[in-house]
């Protein structure tokens, strides 16, 4: 008996070995600095457990994937600072982004941390303000918006050309001889130069909270699904390049996502003083409405005045007893303090136009459908009768 497939099996085995070897080599070059030897356990994909609340927690770390992420050069203990001495870990603490991570920031030569960003967020609309804001658990933390994204491959900045990227990198490595360092630096630079999220993803991110009616009510805010009525969203939806998402207007060029303020604050791009510039979007990737006038900027992009209705009914509310009444009151107070009379009037007109069309469409279409239904019934009847009488005539003749 002959084994004709033996040769093929041998070739296949050799190829497989080569492939695996290559993989290992690749892995070793990408591997993260694991001096604490965390991967001794955490490299196993089944690593995990159910916590007290019955939630499945996965503790597996894919070191090759992690090494390609923006935090890939950090050791585990840079962020997971305490509670790791016991095994299995019992008293582990949540990662705090203000932790100094023992990397020197080159411009100041100081140890780097995200503390300054956290401070800015604290002072902005999204900050907890030392617990003075109601329902602090609703407010976002770093991880609500940021995950640990991967660096993209060597393309993108120069017209999606890998060759050009390699050429640029080659110039770097003339002086900075450690290629790994140069690669990392270049990847970091490119990562900052590109938008990491598509417009749709940004809208999804913001609407994750801001479309949640209950959550918004708790803070006296209006839910923003009305954004999806605008042409802005439709451009995003139909994938127009540079279509305006949330941050295009709320964080235009020169502003920071971490420093957002209410529109009554002069530091907000939506403050009446800054609006014209925001709409015109001068200095951005593109100019959106270069001819924007102050009146143009006064128009509401996505607000249909749920607040205004609240403000109108503010006098009629008595002492709030139930929880939802309390919430209503909060919305009303905010609406009363923040909306000018002119704005309330504007919202009322909008409301009445919408109502007018609801009634008009409802009544006209209702009338038509009724008429057509009756007409169909009547003509069918008439045709049947005519048919019947014609048959009778025939019978008579016979």
């Amino acid at each position: 008996m002959r084994y004709p497939s033996l040769k093929i099996v041998a070739v296949f085995t050799v190829l497989l070995c080569m492939f695996l070897l290559a993989e290992t080599l690749q892995a070793s070059s990408d591997a993260l600095p694991d001096s604490e030897n965390c991967l001794y356990c955490h490299r196993y994909p089944q690593m995990g457990r159910y916590d007290e609340k019955g939630k499945k927690r996965i503790f597996y770390i894919n070191d090759r994937v992690f090494a390609r992420s923006i935090h890939g050069k950090l050791s585990c203990k840079s962020c997971h600072v305490s509670g790791l001495d016991q095994i299995p870990h019992t008293d582990i603490q949540k990662v705090d982004c203000t932790t100094k991570c023992h990397i020197k920031e080159p411009s100041t030569n100081q140890e780097f941390s995200h503390a300054n960003i956290v401070q800015k967020v604290e002072a902005s609309v999204h900050g907890r303000k030392n617990g003075t804001k109601p329902y602090p658990e609703d407010l976002p933390e770093c991880k609500s918006c940021h995950d640990n994204p991967l660096y993209s491959s060597l393309e993108g900045l120069w017209c999606d050309s890998e060759a050009l990227s390699n050429e640029t990198l080659a110039r770097c490595t003339v002086c900075h001889v450690r290629k790994e360092w140069a690669d990392n630096f270049y990847a970091h630079f490119m990562h900052r130069m590109q938008k990491q999220r598509t417009q749709k993803e940004i809208v999804q991110l913001c609407t994750g909270c801001h479309e949640d009616q209950e959550k918004m009510n708790r803070h006296g805010l209006e839910s923003i699904e009305t954004y999806k009525d605008t042409f802005h969203w439709k451009q995003v939806k139909y994938r127009v390049e540079n279509a305006p998402d949330c941050i295009t207007c709320h964080v235009p060029v020169g502003y920071s996502t971490h420093e957002m303020y209410p529109r009554t604050d002069p530091r907000s791009p939506l403050h009446m003083n800054n609006r014209v510039n925001t709409c015109a979007h001068q200095g951005g990737i593109q100019t959106c409405h270069p001819g924007a006038t102050p009146e143009f900027a006064m128009g509401r992009v996505h607000a249909y005045g749920a607040n205004a209705e609240m403000a109108a009914s503010v006098q009629t509310t008595t002492v709030a007893s139930r929880d939802d009444e309390k919430l209503k009151l909060l919305v009303q107070v905010r609406a009363k303090n923040e909306l000018s009379k002119k704005e309330v009037f504007h919202y009322q007109v909008l409301h009445y136009i919408t109502l007018f069309y609801k009634i008009l469409i409802g009544s006209v279409i209702g009338f038509m459908i009724l008429h057509q239904f009756l007409d169909y019934r009547r003509t069918r009847k008439r045709m049947n009768q005519r048919h019947h009488s014609m048959n009778l005539e025939k019978d008579d003749r016979v």
């Binding site: 009525d229 001819g291 006038t293 909008l350 069309y357 008009l360 049947n384 009488s389």
Partner: protein, 289 residues
């Protein structure tokens, strides 16, 4: 009016003049524009539905469809302007100038003349609506006897008339919003958006439910009324819908002996047929625009 044959006899069948070539072309342009506008506009209003993206892609997606939409809008507005000029010119030449020569012009006479236009809504329409519903609900077997244009056709005419004004104006405001807000308050853009899209929805539903049913799907015209192409209406439909006008025209054109009885509620012999003379007395000459 002198040139057109009011009643055309072909193979022993009579056909009644409805629309001139000019009017038929106007209607075709209007129809094409409206259909294109609806198809390129609705995928935006109903962007959250599954069909929106496919329909939009058919018109070149968001890069092309808005351009098509605006072009069709421009054509429609031009047509509207032309129609207004046409309307004024026709009334001026056909009615006001003869009136001037005959009786002299006064404001009262002019207003009465304008109110007497065949497409002007009047009290007879109200009565006809009431009577038609009586007929539809089997309370009577007599259809109301329509004039040259019934209330349905007046509805068909004035709905797009009003629609083009509202949708055209709001569309223009949204198109040139930076220019518009040099004179208008910024809120007007918000109002325009709601008016444009809701009015358009109304217009589209009107078109499908009302107009298309009446001229295509209704059992009396199915599969398609042909008057918008040929300009002439069959005797049967003329009797059913415009009996008052039918008698007027028949008498005027010298077919008095051939006038047929009105449609009854379906071959019901119990209903006494009135003699012709009682049914209608032709009062004045029909005016055709």
């Amino acid at each position: 009016m002198n040139k057109t044959t009011i009643i055309m006899v072909k193979n022993g069948k009579k056909f009644f003049f409805r629309f001139s070539v000019n009017q038929r072309i106007q209607h075709l342009i209007l129809a094409t524009c409206v259909v294109v506008l609806v198809l390129t506009g609705m995928p935006l209003k109903f962007h959250y539905t599954f069909w929106a993206q496919y329909l939009y892609a058919l018109f070149g997606g968001i890069h092309m469809a808005p351009i098509i939409h605006r072009m069709a809008g421009i054509v429609l507005i031009l047509l509207f302007v032309y129609h207004i000029i046409y309307l004024i010119r026709t009334i001026w030449r056909g009615q006001i100038v003869p009136l001037k020569q005959k009786e002299g012009l006064s404001i009262v006479r002019l207003i009465r003349l304008l109110l007497d236009q065949p497409l002007m809504p009047n009290f007879k329409d109200l009565k006809d609506i009431f009577d038609l519903f009586k007929y539809l609900l089997f309370l009577t077997s007599e259809r109301p006897q329509g004039a040259q244009f019934t209330w349905k056709e007046k509805f068909d005419y004035w709905a797009p008339f009003w629609g083009i004004v509202i949708i055209g104006a709001s569309g223009a405001i949204m198109w040139g919003k930076e220019i518009a807000t040099q004179w208008l308050p910024g809120e007007v853009i918000n109002f325009a958006l709601i008016a444009h899209s809701d009015e358009a929805l109304l217009a589209a539903l009107f078109l499908f439910i009302w107009h298309w049913y009446n001229v295509h799907f209704s059992t009396s015209v199915f599969p398609m009324g042909t008057a918008f192409l040929t300009g002439y209406l069959s005797e049967e439909l003329m009797i059913e819908e415009h009996y008052e006008y039918y008698i007027e025209v028949m008498k005027q054109e010298g077919f008095e002996n051939e006038i047929l009885p009105p449609h009854q509620g379906g071959g019901n012999d119990n209903i006494k047929k009135k003699p012709m003379e009682e049914i209608h007395s032709a009062s004045e000459l029909p005016r055709i625009l």
